[in-house]
Every structure is written in C-alpha cells, then in structure tokens.
Amino acid sequence: MADLMTYRDAVAEGLAREMRRDPAVVCLGEDIGAAGGVFKTTVGLLDEFGPDRVRDTPISEQAIVGMAMGAAMTGIRPVAEIMFSDFLACCWDYLANEIPKMRYMTGGQVTVPLVVRTANGGGLGFGAQHSQAVENWALAVPGLKIVAPSTPADVVGLLASAVRSDDPVVFFEHKGLFASRGEAAPEGHVVPLGEAAIARPGTDITVVALAATVPIALAAAEELAAGGVSAEVIDLRCLVPLDMATVLASVGRTSRLLIVEENPYQGGWGGTVASIVADEGFELLDAPPRRVAAECVPLPFADALEDEVIPTTAKVTAALRALLDY
C-alpha cells in the first residue's frame, strides 16, 4: 500500500520541497514560524530553514501581501500566508489592484512571482467571518492564477507549480480537507497549473467539482453507482487557467453536466463554467447545465444550519437524479 499523508502535512511538505530546491523561496505570515501555523500547515519549516526564510508577521494583512509583492518584484519568490481566506478582504487592494495589474500596466516591465496561500471554506462551524469559500472573489480579477487542490498529492504538486510560476497565484487550501488522507506525493511531483483531473471516470453524467466539493461529488457518484448510474467526476484543481477542454470533452461523452461549488450561487465560479458549456457545448447537452452551490446567505454557525447552506452529498445526489431524469 502506498504511503499516506494528510492534506495538512502535504502543505508543509510542498513548501519544504520548494524551499530546498530554490533559496529564493521564503515564507511569511501570522504564526507560521515557531507555532507552525494555526492549521499546522507550516510545521518544521522554521527549524529547517531558519528565521530569515520563515518569518512571523504581525496581524497586518496589507503589509504581509504588500511586502510579498515588493519582494517578488525584486528577485525573491515569497509565499505569503493569509490565515483565513475571509481575511483576504483586509488586503484585497493587493489582490485586486496591485499584484494582478503590475505586469500589464507597466507594459510587461515587472514580474510578480508570488503565492498567497490561504485556508478557505466552511463545514467546520467557524461562523460567517471564518468559513467562506471565496475563490470566486479571485476569479473576478484578471491577472491572478487560482489553485484549489483536493488531495494531498495535488497539494504538493500544485504548490510546486505555483511557487515556480512567474505569475501570481492564489492558493486556496480547504479547511475541511486538512485532516483528510491520501497517497503521498512522489519525489519531484509537479502538477501543471490548468490541468483538471478526472477523479472518477464515468459515462452518464459529468460532475465538475473543486477542492472540498470533490469528495462530496465522489460520494454522490458512489451512491448512484449502486443504482447502475456511471457519473464522471472532474476535479478542476485550478480556476485560472480553467481547463474547459477537459470539461467539454467529458460533457461530449455524457451529455449532462452538474457543477458543485462551495462559493455562493450568486457570482460563483460555476456560472462561468456553465456559460462556456452553454455557449460552446450547447449541442452536446441533453439537459440544462445545473449548479449545486452555496445559498446566497452569510455562513451560519450551527452544523444543522450550515448544512442547509453549503453543498452536501445528499444535495448533490438529489441534483444528479433530477438531471438524469430530465
């Protein structure tokens, strides 16, 4: 049996591999040093790489991401941690106005090779200001690459590509997946940005998912398999670059599409996927593209309430059955 690794440990492993490979890679963020990160995703880095390359910061999100940008413009490859993705709002100027625009508005003079890592998503009862899935915020900004892995091996492989990218990358780690286990990444594992994975092959319906909605989609597909339905689950892995070629090819085989996203339906990334399929794959479809997304409300605290808002296996299973019956 292959070695198993947690998603949480994969983050530290992926960072350590890149820091060993390239002395220009440095990390900064709140509590990432001696504390090893509030989610324990940077454990061991301070001991191995020392305080010059693993730096604790004050609670100053603008300084964290702004300093990462200034360092990235001048020969360093910083990996900045924003503890909860909700806090991206505190430094959104840098993600919306500074980092993604610098190369363009200088006519290509400036390169900003940085990664902003952040713990994203709900399901853990952290309430409305620590639970949001905000990958759609980043998708609204041209000039950012967006990664959201679902497995430990993908965490390592996509982190390698993100750190090596000369473009800025927002790397969403899902809080609900930190404790999950999967196959460990082999040495030198690199997953290119913008290549979706077929997490489960199937022939009857396509399910497009991202990060924590991948295991939900897989569980739903498993339930349907008992009834003889073969659902194909695509793990997008990245929102930019967006691998629509894989999605369209799958829809060409199955003729049905369900998108499962944790961000709100209102402005969620599934709307972009659905619009491209409607535009470029209209003739492939035997049913309307549908989305299971979060309700358009702030995230509630209690489990019983949160389950009403974000995607669950039961909701996905029901949506799949409805689409198959269409």
């Binding site: 220009a24 440095v26 010059d52 390359r53 730096r55 910061t57 004050p58 100053s60 603008q62 300084a63 991401v65 702004g66 300093m67 990462a68 940008m69 200034g70 360092a71 990235a72 413009m73 001048t74 020969g75 360093i76 910083p78 100027d93 840098y94 106005n97 500074e98 610098m102 190369r103 363009y104 508005m105 200088t106 006519g107 290509g108 003079q109 400036v110 390169t111 090779p113 041209p142 000039g143 990218s165 000369d166 473009d167 913008g194 930019v240 670059p241 967006l242 691998d243 629509m244 070629a245 894989t246 491209i276």
Partner: protein, 329 residues
C-alpha cells in the same frame, strides 16, 4: 549641519529639475490641446524632492512613487519623450501606453512603479528592502508618498513591520499641505503627518525643506547610509507645494493667495539657482542649463507627437509571464 553639494552636481540637478518643470508644463498644455487624455497629477513644485533624492541614491536602489510621480520617473532615468508618449497614448510610451499618467514605471532604472491607490506602495518598498537584505545587495528601497497617505492603514502597517525587521527602506513624505482638496491639518491628528508618527514605530524622522534640492539630497544620503549600515528605516517629511491643482480638473482655488505667493517665492528652481550663484557659478552657465532643459523638453514633445499611436494588439498582451492573456483552455 549645513547641507552641501558640489557646484557641477548642483548644476546638473538644476537642469534636471528644469527638464521636469518644463515637461510638466508641456503636459498641462498638451492636455488643454486634447493630446493627453484621462487625468494628470502634475508634480511641478515637487521637483527638488525627486531630483535631490535621486542624486543621493545608488543607481541600483529601488524607488516606488505615487500617481503624482512624473518627477520620480524622470529623476530615475525615464526620458521626457517616453513619459510624454505614455501620456499621449503612443506606442513608444514608457509603459506602451498601458499605464498612463498615474503609472509611470521604468523598471530597468529601479523605478518600480507609480501607484494610484493611496499608500499601497509603502509595504511594497518594505518588501523590496527585505528582498535586498535576503539577497545581500545593500540596496535600499524608497517609498515617496503624499501627506494624504499618512492616514491610511498601509502606511502604519509598513512603518511598523519595516521597523520591527529593521529594513533598509526610506519613507519620504512629500507634504504639500493638501490631501487632494482638503488641508491635511484639518483631517490629521498630528502637526507633521508623517514625521510625528515615526516615533510611534521607534523610527527616526526629519522634517526638511523639500524645495531645496541640496537639503533633500543631504537628508536622503544620511538616511540611506543608515539603512545600508543595517540601522533600519527613516521617515523624512519634505515640505513642498504644488504649482498646479490636485489633478487636471482642480484649479486649487481653495488655497489662500498669500500662501500660494509665499510658496511660489520658494520655487525649487529659484532656490537652486540662488545656491548656484552663491557657489560662484556664472549666471550665463545657469541660463545655459535652463536653455538646454527647454530644448530637451521641446525635442521630447516633438518626438512624442511624431510617434505612432498605441498598437491595439497590445491590449491583449502582458497579463501573464508568457506575454499573453489566455485564462482557459
């Protein structure tokens, strides 16, 4: 301490300030002629801050400026022609006409951008200083900003962290007394909006005459020396004054006439000219420098006017490092 500068260097600074002044006036005229669009935030009156600082910095030091940044771009080595071409939407613009007046950048000269979100670039300068330390280069980074930037969070976050990490960064405020249309004193709980805040972050500060290029060069030189020696950041507050309004549409009628007259009597070009005369430089040599500056500006205007317009194909380049803009397969 009496600030000093050798006469040949002072004459060079005088000519460079005259080029910047002439270029800013040309921008004003070109705007009225319909050849510059959007808006402009002219730096006429602020020339000594940029030219004095640049004279004291190393060529490989980093400069980050604001949307009122034409003077910094030119002081660091952007040519008047490529700046004017940028403002006139020409293909030869310093940013290929993709940035415009508020984003002049000359990365090859260490001029790493003009930023139009107030205060955003202070953390960037701190980051560049951190990078210099990590790479062991002894470079310093400089953030120039207006008085208005001292009331935004990024200013305070940058000063705090730069101090804690003792970074080789200079924070230089160009205090021109007005936050856009509002007197800075009426919205700030400090007499000197930048310098008075420095002590809160255990940083040294100086309030200096920003209209005297020699004073600026001297203060920046000392601060840069401290930074390179590992003694951390310095906050400088250079007192200066705009000769135009905040932006193109602002006639600055809110400024009292006697205040304007007083500041115009301390025009940085006149201050430098008087210093040159005191240093024994002949009036004919000072006039010759002014004439050369006027010729430089006239040639730059002609060159920018004659350049081709921006290539529409450039709209879809330079998003990604591969030069393109593809976001999906």
């Amino acid at each position: 301490m009496t600030a000093t500068m050798e006469a040949p260097e002072l004459l060079r600074c005088y000519e460079q300030m005259a080029v910047i002044r002439g270029t800013e006036k040309a921008v004003h005229d070109l705007f009225l002629a319909g050849l510059v669009k959007g808006t402009t935030h002219l730096a006429a009156g602020h020339e000594a801050v940029a030219v004095g600082a640049s004279a004291a910095l190393r060529p490989d030091d980093y400069v980050f400026a604001t949307y009122r940044g034409h003077h910094h771009a030119m002081a660091r080595g952007a040519t008047p022609a490529e700046c004017l071409a940028e403002l006139m939407s020409k293909a030869t613009g310093v940013c290929k006409a993709k940035g415009g007046s508020m984003h002049l950048t000359k990365a090859s000269a260490g001029m790493l951008g003009s930023y139009a979100i107030v205060g955003a670039h202070l953390p960037l300068a701190a980051g560049a200083a951190w990078s210099a330390r990590l790479r062991g280069t002894s470079q310093v980074a400089v953030a120039f900003f207006g008085d208005g930037a001292t009331n935004i969070g990024a200013f305070h976050e940058a000063l705090n962290l730069a101090s804690v990490w003792s970074l080789p960064v200079l924070f230089i405020c160009e205090n021109n007394l007005y936050m856009e249309y509002t007197p800075i004193g009426s919205v700030t709980a400090a007499d000197h909006p930048a310098a008075d805040r420095a002590a809160s972050y255990r940083l040294p500060s100086e309030v200096i005459d920003g209209n005297d290029v020699v004073v600026v060069a001297d203060a920046v030189g000392r601060a840069a020396e401290r930074a390179r020696a590992g003694h951390g950041p310095t906050v400088l507050e250079a007192q200066t004054y705009r000769h135009f309004g905040h932006s193109r549409t602002d006639p600055a009628s809110y400024r009292p006439a006697d205040e304007v007259a007083e500041w115009l009597s301390r025009d940085p070009l006149d201050v430098a000219s008087r210093r040159l005369a005191e240093a024994g430089v002949a009036q004919a040599d000072i006039s010759a420098a002014a004439d050369r500056a006027a010729e430089t500006v006239a040639a730059a205007v002609a060159q920018a006017k004659a350049a081709d317009g921006a290539d529409p194909a450039q709209a879809l380049t330079d998003v990604w490092a591969d030069g393109g803009h593809q976001w999906r397969t």
